[in-house]
């Protein structure tokens, strides 16, 4: 990890903090869209270093946080079917549905397996032909290409006992929706890994249409502070643009190969986001020509109405209107060990990160 040490340099951090302090306006709201950024900011303790006028809001970029109850409920219904094994990334197994979560179902004997990579699920399908291996596809443009690559393998190998239940979403429509719904955001710390796939052009309309400043940021303390400095400079000079701070990873054109693969297997659909409601063209659905690998089609799954849990303000937190501390459930009824709202579930969720790393209260 030596290569990253320069991005955690204490003196550099101090210099950036001083520079931000020198030009910072009395008040500015910056949203880190990506859960990875939320986590990195809290883990490095950056809020304790920044001047008070710089308010960092945590956005909707934690995949499990915006995934509907309905998705979990449908997965729980699916696991009751004969021969079905569910494979998923670890974060999803504690996400509450309306009547329980996957961890509890596993405790009751359901065959639910946590995988680090989709390839493990593919391998299970090869080795256990008597099983129906369903992969819960979750995440944004960062994980969707991997799911598409998995589908590509399954299609080529004619692996008929493998399918994907997709809750994949795309990021930009949600960033638009927040601004359209009037969230008090002056600038976006744009997601680093999503942008590595999408490139920077996809943000172009945000400054022109909404006056929002945009900087694509890396994940180390120095990256994030440099991005904040760039955003503050844009904001105080009233010249919002799209800039790339994370140049060592993100290119303006993005990753064409990954995008091609995504386009081949997925099409856009209107999708429901926890806290934000239905956002047009924000979800990824497996194309009809690959229906045999689409768990929804294969098992005739029925979509049901989506609802928010009573009392939970995750939606307002995701929009940047409220902070986790404003929620009456925060840290009492809703805790990481027993989450009510989705923002408390994933370690990248705004409430979870706030709970773990806050210094006060």
């Amino acid at each position: 990890m030596k290569s990253l040490e320069a991005f955690r340099d204490k003196e550099l951090v101090q210099l950036l903090i001083e520079e931000i302090g020198r030009i910072a306006p009395p008040s500015v709201n910056l949203m880190e869209v990506c859960g990875g950024h939320t986590m990195a900011i809290q883990k490095a303790g950056l809020p304790s270093l920044l001047p008070p006028g710089i308010r960092l809001l945590s956005g909707p970029g934690c995949p499990v946080c915006v995934t509907s109850y309905d998705f979990i409920d449908q997965a729980l219904a699916l696991i009751r079917k004969e021969k079905v094994t569910i494979t998923t990334y670890g974060d999803l197994i504690r996400v509450p549905g309306s009547g329980g979560n996957l961890a509890e179902a596993r405790a009751l004997g359901a065959d639910i397996r946590v995988v680090y990579s989709l390839l493990e699920a593919i391998e299970m399908a090869r080795k256990e032909p008597q099983k129906e291996i369903v992969f819960l596809g979750i995440g944004f443009e960062t994980t969707a290409p991997a799911t598409a690559a998995g589908l590509d393998l399954a299609v080529k190998e004619k692996l008929r006992n493998f399918s994907v239940f997709s809750a994949h979403k795309v990021m930009i429509p949600a960033m638009d929706a927040l601004l359209e719904q009037g969230s008090p955001i002056h600038g976006y710390i744009c997601p680093g890994h999503v942008s590595a796939i999408t490139g920077s052009e996809v943000y172009r309309h945000l400054p022109s249409r909404f006056g929002a400043c945009c900087v694509i940021s890396g994940f180390e303390a120095v990256d994030i502070l440099e991005s904040i400095l760039m955003l503050v400079k844009q904001y105080v000079s009233h010249e919002p643009v799209v800039e790339i701070q994370y140049r060592r990873v993100v290119r303006p054109e993005g990753n064409l190969k990954a995008r091609e693969l995504m386009d081949k297997y997925f099409e856009l659909k209107d999708d429901w986001w926890r806290g934000l409601g239905v956002i047009p063209y924000s979800g990824l659905k497996i194309r009809p020509e690959y229906a045999a690998w689409n768990a929804e089609e294969k098992f005739g799954m029925q979509a049901v109405e989506n609802k928010e849990p009573p009392g939970c303000i995750c939606g307002l937190v995701l929009k940047g209107v409220k902070t986790p501390a404003d929620c009456p459930l925060f840290a009492n009824i809703c805790q990481p060990s027993d989450p009510v709202g989705a923002c408390m579930v994933s370690s990248e969720g705004a409430c979870h990160a706030h709970y773990l790393y806050r210094e006060d209260g």
Binding site: D9, G45, Y116, A221
Partner: protein
């Protein structure tokens, strides 16, 4: 179709065995309701039993680790070290050990023998005698090859102060750890071959009683002593802050972490402070004894990379605050649920 599993917390989850908050909830919510011996309620790693003329220290631990063998150890060695360490951090000299084996039908005899011989070797090295044992066999699929329970009896080192008579933890005291953290969890994780690559990290699996005894005999005022196992260093520091009603302040850059473990944590999204250890010791000592204690620890093979990682404060009692590598401050929380099941 809608409500499928309505079992909220009326079933045991894997997280109940993680040594974190769920485990604590299970102990306080269920076990303490029925078992109320004062020694148990004291909530230590081992119970102190007063008998005429002596103080015995008694502890028990079960081992369900998967896989049975991992770089640096195996379930047999672990079953000795785990129990010896619970005695050691209670200030005891380990004397006697019991072992209960739960074996799965079909378990390979050679495998069992290599576990048992490794247990015997470790016990001999530790100077502890296995004096009683039991064996049960269950049907195939009812356990995973070999589970072991060990109990240990030791006697309190004469120079060690009993609980209730110990030196008080006060503001300014130093917090010491004897070496790199997180090695055990990473070694086990890699042995599971879930990751598809290897970094060469070995478990820190070791008996700590000699190191502890040498510090006690040298007269250091060991005010608080524990071994961070499941739940990791972060969970243990929280216990320190809560039990002693003090603030705990640690510096991220002072905590010994191997670069390869740090790298794996980055990759997998783990917090090294929540990773399990099996040969680590955390001590609270007066500030003025710190330098000398570190010097003596570093002369011992198990203390070579010992470091002072922080201090006791009078600010925010019950909380652990960390100065991060880049100079920010944040709270360190105990482990909340499961990160890696069956790590010991």
């Amino acid at each position: 179709m809608r409500i499928i599993f309505t079992v909220k917390m009326d079933k045991i989850l894997l997280g109940h065995g993680s040594g974190g908050k769920l485990t604590a909830d299970l102990i306080s919510g269920l076990f303490r309701k029925y078992f109320r011996a004062p020694q148990l309620l004291e909530g230590r790693d081992a119970a102190l039993l007063e008998i005429p003329g002596s103080t015995l220290v008694f502890t028990t631990d079960s081992f369900v680790i998967h896989p049975l063998f991992y770089p640096g150890g195996n379930i047999g060695k672990l079953a000795v070290c785990g129990t010896v360490n619970d005695l050691a951090v209670s200030g005891a000299r380990p004397l006697f050990l019991s072992a209960g084996f739960i074996l799965e039908e079909g378990c390979d005899m050679k495998l069992l023998e290599s576990v048992v011989s490794s247990m015997a070797a470790e016990a001999e090295k530790a100077g502890i005698s296995l004096v009683t044992a039991d064996t049960k066999v269950v049907e195939k699929g009812k356990c995973d090859q070999i589970f072991i329970n060990t109990s240990g009896i030791g006697c309190l080192l004469p120079a060690y102060r009993k609980p209730g008579h110990q030196y008080e933890v006060t503001c300014g005291d130093s917090i010491i750890v004897n070496g790199f953290i997180g090695d055990h969890a990473m070694a086990v994780l890699q042995a599971r071959n879930d990751l598809g690559f290897s970094s060469g990290v070995s478990s820190d699996n070791a008996c700590l009683h000699e190191l502890v005894a040498s510090l006690v005999h040298s007269g250091f005022r060991l005010k608080w002593m524990r071994d961070p196992t499941r739940g990791g260093l972060g969970t243990l520091l929280n216990e320190l802050a809560l039990q002693q009603h003090c603030g705990v302040f640690v510096e991220e850059t002072a905590i010994p972490v191997r670069p390869e473990v740090e790298g794996l944590c980055e990759l997998l999204g783990f917090d090294v402070l929540t990773l399990a250890n099996e040969g680590k010791l955390v001590l609270v000592v007066p500030e003025e004894e710190t330098a000398e204690l570190l010097q003596q620890m570093k002369a011992h093979p198990l203390g070579q990379y010992a470091a002072c990682i922080g201090r006791i404060t009078d600010q925010s009692p019950g909380r652990v605050v960390m100065l991060t590598g880049v100079g920010g401050r944040r709270i360190v929380h105990p482990l909340l649920g499961e990160i890696l099941p069956r790590i010991c």
